[in-house]
């Protein structure tokens, strides 16, 4: 399974899925041109950033000398890859896994494909860090092309029903979810098919919905000094109805969660 590491594109076809994958320099193990039951679902899906925030310990209320050190990160990719890419079969599907090691931080990236249309882009965080008070922020970027690009809409479950997202924005998981636990979804007008996103209950997830652009995946979350980081910096006022959309799922995993902690959403393809 090492071809994806040395340049040859890899493809797997089984369990109703056809998946291309490759190791990147900065966005982990990326899948692309992925079909479910012969229909295109993903143009490209990746894990561009995993930032880590440490919070100063032993802070006093009158402590004016304390210093916020902000986030830091190291990209997951060739440079931090610590194992070969493995493909494992399990009952009802298969999965791609790879380990990364960056000094005191260790991760396992997982893509799981179920024959019933579920897809799990996950990251197992193995703990570590400089001290106990820190938070991990894995960022996934999903460029879904549900039965082709365009003609798509994004919706979020709000209260008791699905509501259309009119323009680019940032959408928190507030606890409202449909009966399957899905909070957001991307729908294709043509086929009626959709990809729904069910967040992990414990990771304070949020979703950024952004109109697809040629340049919307910078190799760092830092946009400019003092400015919002990516993907927040990409959010403008573009209308989303009927166009090609990129979705960013950002998880926030606090160190007081049990480790190893597996972050990331469940995705589900319906309608094919």
């Amino acid at each position: 399974m090492s071809n994806a590491s040395n340049g040859t594109p890899n493809v797997i076809s089984k369990c109703n899925w056809t998946v291309h994958y490759r190791m990147t320099e900065s966005a982990g193990l990326t899948i692309y041109l992925t079909d479910y039951r012969g229909h295109r679902v993903v143009w490209e899906a990746e894990l561009p950033y995993v930032t880590v925030d440490h919070q100063a310990q032993d802070l006093e209320l009158d402590d004016t000398a304390s210093h916020d050190h902000g986030p830091f990160w190291v990209p997951l990719g060739h440079r931090t890859q610590a194992s070969e890419i493995a493909c494992n079969d399990f009952r009802g599907g298969f999965e791609l896994t790879v380990d990364f090691s960056a000094g005191v931080y260790e991760y396992t990236q997982i893509w799981r494909f179920h024959e019933d249309g579920r897809l799990a882009p996950w990251l197992t965080i193995h703990g570590g860090g400089l001290h106990a008070a820190h938070t991990y922020h894995p960022h996934w970027r999903f460029d879904f092309d549900v039965d082709g690009a365009g003609h798509d809409a994004v919706e979020r479950f709000d209260g008791s029903r699905w509501n259309r997202v009119a323009q680019e924005g940032w959408f928190l998981y507030t606890g409202d979810a449909d009966t399957d636990g899905a909070v957001w979804r991307q729908i294709d007008f043509g086929s009626g098919a959709s990809v729904s996103i069910r967040p992990h209950h414990w990771e304070d997830a949020e979703l950024f919905a952004i109109a697809h652009r040629m340049h919307d995946a910078a190799p760092s979350p830092h946009s400019a000094a003092g400015a919002p980081t990516y993907p927040a910096a990409y959010v403008g006022n573009a209308a989303l109805d009927g166009i090609d959309v990129a979705l960013w799922y950002v998880a926030h995993v606090h160190y007081d969660d049990a480790f190893p902690f597996t972050a990331g959403p469940w995705l589900r393809v319906d309608g094919f």
Partner: protein, 227 residues
């Protein structure tokens, strides 16, 4: 996709409306809806993402990578950067463009460079099939560290007296993280910087050295448990 009646509601999911009913409704509104439907139907005859060539995503060969960098540094807009030579190549990765963009179907590269001479990020898309820079943007963003920058940060940290003083026996550089400060008063705010984490393998880190890569100096030394 056929959306008759101009409604903006979600289209019926597969299986929720009988096919006959759909066909009858479509026939009934055929004349009135013809023009509208035509506009809303997915364009035909255009390249489609479903026909995309997987080889456009394949990692670059050594030669393709060299080609992308050569095309970029030959661009006149980057003449000063190329001449001064104080830049680091951060990443060169395949970046295929979706149809119907005019460059869809071509071998495209996303090239990111940090230009130390002007403290800017150079974000380019290079069309390898046409040997030209398709898109060029200069920003104040801080891309991830190049491998050479990580090595430089570790080297600078290891030669700093304050760091040497605080290192315990067996401490070694564990990782160089890309770092930026959120505080405007911080000396490295807005500058190219790394945080070099020291410690013994398998143990809790002991020290963090913040390295200013513009001046090749250590800006701050922090006990790891105080970070």
């Amino acid at each position: 996709m056929r959306r008759t009646g101009g409604k903006k509601s979600i289209p019926a999911m597969k299986g929720t409306a009988p096919a006959k009913k759909k066909a009858a409704a479509a026939k009934k509104t055929k004349r009135k809806a013809a023009a509208t439907t035509k506009k809303r139907t997915r364009p035909t005859g255009q390249p489609d993402v479903r026909m995309a060539d997987p080889s456009l995503f394949a990692p670059f060969t050594v030669g393709e990578r060299a080609d992308a960098l050569r095309i970029l540094t030959e661009d006149k807009r980057l003449a000063s950067m190329s001449k001064v030579g104080r830049y680091r190549v951060v990443s060169v990765e395949p970046a295929p463009v979706k149809p119907p963009h005019e460059r869809a179907g071509r071998r495209m590269a996303s090239v990111v460079v940090y230009d130390y001479s002007q403290e800017r990020c150079v974000d380019a898309h290079v069309d390898l099939d046409h040997s030209e820079v398709a898109h060029l943007e200069f920003t104040k963003s801080q891309p991830m560290l190049a491998h050479a920058e990580e090595a430089a940060a570790i080297s600078v940290a290891l030669s700093d007296d304050r760091v040497k003083e605080k290192l315990a026996l067996g401490d070694e550089p564990r990782v160089a993280m890309h770092y930026w400060s959120n505080e405007e008063t911080d000396v490295i705010h807005g500058r190219r910087a790394a945080a070099v984490v020291f410690g013994q393998p398998g143990a809790t880190p002991s020290l963090v050295a913040v390295v200013d890569l513009l001046s090749n100096s250590v800006a701050e030394v922090v006990e790891a448990d105080q970070w």
